[in-house]
């Protein structure tokens, strides 16, 4: 699942997937350093890329279960400026 960071947003801003293992492929298309953090609905961090330099692409894997997740950049002020995205994991019917 691909995400692109820029100042100050994630693209896509909202995405859905099925439960199970997910590979996050994150690219920094901006000029500033960013952080990629996925947290579940309780606010617990699931996975993170702590240093995402401009121009770089990094990958991390996580296993997600059904429910809403939030993706954000944790650097001071970045989420407030718009670097928040939603991931909705939909259980199979």
């Amino acid at each position: 699942m691909a995400f692109t960071a820029s100042e100050f947003r994630w693209d896509p801003g909202e995405v859905a997937t099925r439960p199970g293992p997910v590979t996050f492929r994150v690219t920094n298309a901006g000029q500033l350093e960013h952080v990629f953090l996925v947290q579940d609905s309780t606010g617990r961090a699931i996975v993170t890329i702590p240093v995402l330099l401009p121009g770089r692409t990094e990958e991390v894997m996580a296993t997600v279960s059904s429910g809403p997740y939030t993706i954000l950049c944790t650097l001071a002020g970045h989420a407030e400026a718009g670097m928040i995205a939603r991931l909705i994991v939909l259980a199979a019917p």
Partner: protein, 396 residues
């Protein structure tokens, strides 16, 4: 810049400037600034009419930061200490380090306003650039230092990298700052006795903002600055107006200030809750802050030498500088043997509190590899410990 002959200080005097000199100098300086601004304003405006004009894509830092003078870390440019070797007391604007949380905004001084508002003032209003310039001016010499200066040494000491820009010791500069005391502006908006927190906010695209207590806001040398070393404040350093909060961590000195909130209740921002706090198990969180919030800078010392550099052997005079957010430096010692033995360094004039002191020490340098150390003590008795506890964001 020639060394400034400062007026005599008693040990408790933190102010460090002479009012009679500056009120005279202030008039001619304002005339000089207005002449400069005609050119600067036009350059800054760039044909766009909005108060904050940005081109796409904009460079993060506008002034040249060549690698022979700076270590470049993205939006941050760190001064190389060897640049200050045998220089005068002040850091020239072109060598002054740049710490940007985002990119330098271009601000039109003609349409810029400083809004001062909030529950702690009775007459909120906006000030124009000319109104700020027309207020009684003062000049002070003080350091501005990033809270993370020295952060890279946590990895050296602990084998564990602290989060943030891996500065060595070059995120510090001393300049002469000219402006109007913040108190002057707060009085004009009917500051209430119940006011408690004052939060300046920048016009950058993150709106970096951080509160200070009212007592610090009202200090004589807490200024709204518009000139740096006698020149109009450069864009990377906060044009048109920035805060100067002497002795405190760098982030308190908000650049490109556009708004000041004054509140009767405590104020919070990401920069005093999530960052610029001490995070490590021994520091207790004080919600909403993740840990104790940083205020006054601690002590540091640096040699005017290249990092991992080489110098010729022989009798040499080594020079360096030391500083403390708490007051004047009173003693500096240097060790050439990794802290086993220390010898005193000679302090040089001037020695301005919450700026820095230059010092020198003779060394009979025999060929070899050395780790040079310097430790300072300030007038309050604060010193430089051999080590400090690790904290996640790499402060102090």
């Amino acid at each position: 810049m020639p060394d400034r002959g400062e007026t005599e200080h008693s040990p408790g005097d933190q102010t460090g400037w002479g009012d009679t000199e500056t009120s005279q100098g202030g008039l001619s300086r304002r005339g000089f600034l207005r002449t400069l601004l005609g050119g600067v304003g036009a350059t800054c405006l760039g044909g766009l009419g909005s108060p904050v004009a940005r081109a796409q894509p904009a460079p993060l830092v506008l002034k040249p930061t060549p690698p022979e003078f700076f270590y470049n870390h993205g939006s941050n440019s760190e001064m190389r200490w060897e640049v200050m070797a045998n220089r005068g007391y002040l850091v020239p604007n072109e060598f002054f380090f740049v710490r940007n949380h985002t990119r330098t905004p271009r601000v039109d001084p003609g349409t810029w306003r400083l809004r001062v508002e909030g529950s702690g003032v009775g007459r909120p209003r906006a000030f124009t650039y000319d109104e700020i310039l027309n207020m009684p001016a003062v000049s002070v010499i003080r350091f501005i230092e990033c809270a993370g200066n020295g952060r890279s040494f946590f990895e050296v000491a602990y084998g564990r990298r602290a989060q943030g820009t891996q500065w060595k010791l070059g995120a510090i500069g001393v300049a002469e700052w000219t402006g109007v005391p913040l108190r002057e502006v707060l009085e004009r908006v009917g500051l209430k006795r119940t006011a408690r927190d004052v939060m300046p906010e920048g016009l950058d695209d993150l709106r970096v903002r951080r509160p200070i207590p009212i007592e610090k806001a009202l200090a004589e040398d807490t200024l709204l600055v518009y000139a740096m070393n006698g020149d109009v404040l450069p864009p990377d350093h906060g044009f048109p107006v920035r805060l100067l909060v002497p002795g405190w961590i760098g982030v308190a000195n908000i650049k490109w200030v556009g708004r000041i909130e004054v509140s009767e209740t405590p104020l919070y921002s990401p920069w005093n809750t999530e960052s610029y706090v001490l995070i490590e198990p021994e520091y207790r969180p004080s919600p909403p802050a993740l840990g104790p919030t940083l205020t006054v800078q601690n002590l540091k010392s640096a040699f005017e030498l290249p990092w991992d550099g080489e110098i010729p052997a022989g009798r040499r005079l080594l020079r360096g500088r030391s500083w403390s957010g708490h007051g004047r430096i009173v003693r500096v010692e240097v060790s050439f043997d990794r802290g086993i033995s220390w010898q005193p360094a000679q302090l040089r004039d001037p020695n301005i509190p919450q700026a820095w002191v230059r010092w020198e020490v003779e060394w009979d340098a025999r060929p070899g590899q050395y780790s040079l150390r310097a430790r300072a003590t300030d007038e309050r008795g604060n010193g430089q410990p051999a080590s400090v506890p690790f904290n996640e964001q790499g402060y102090l």
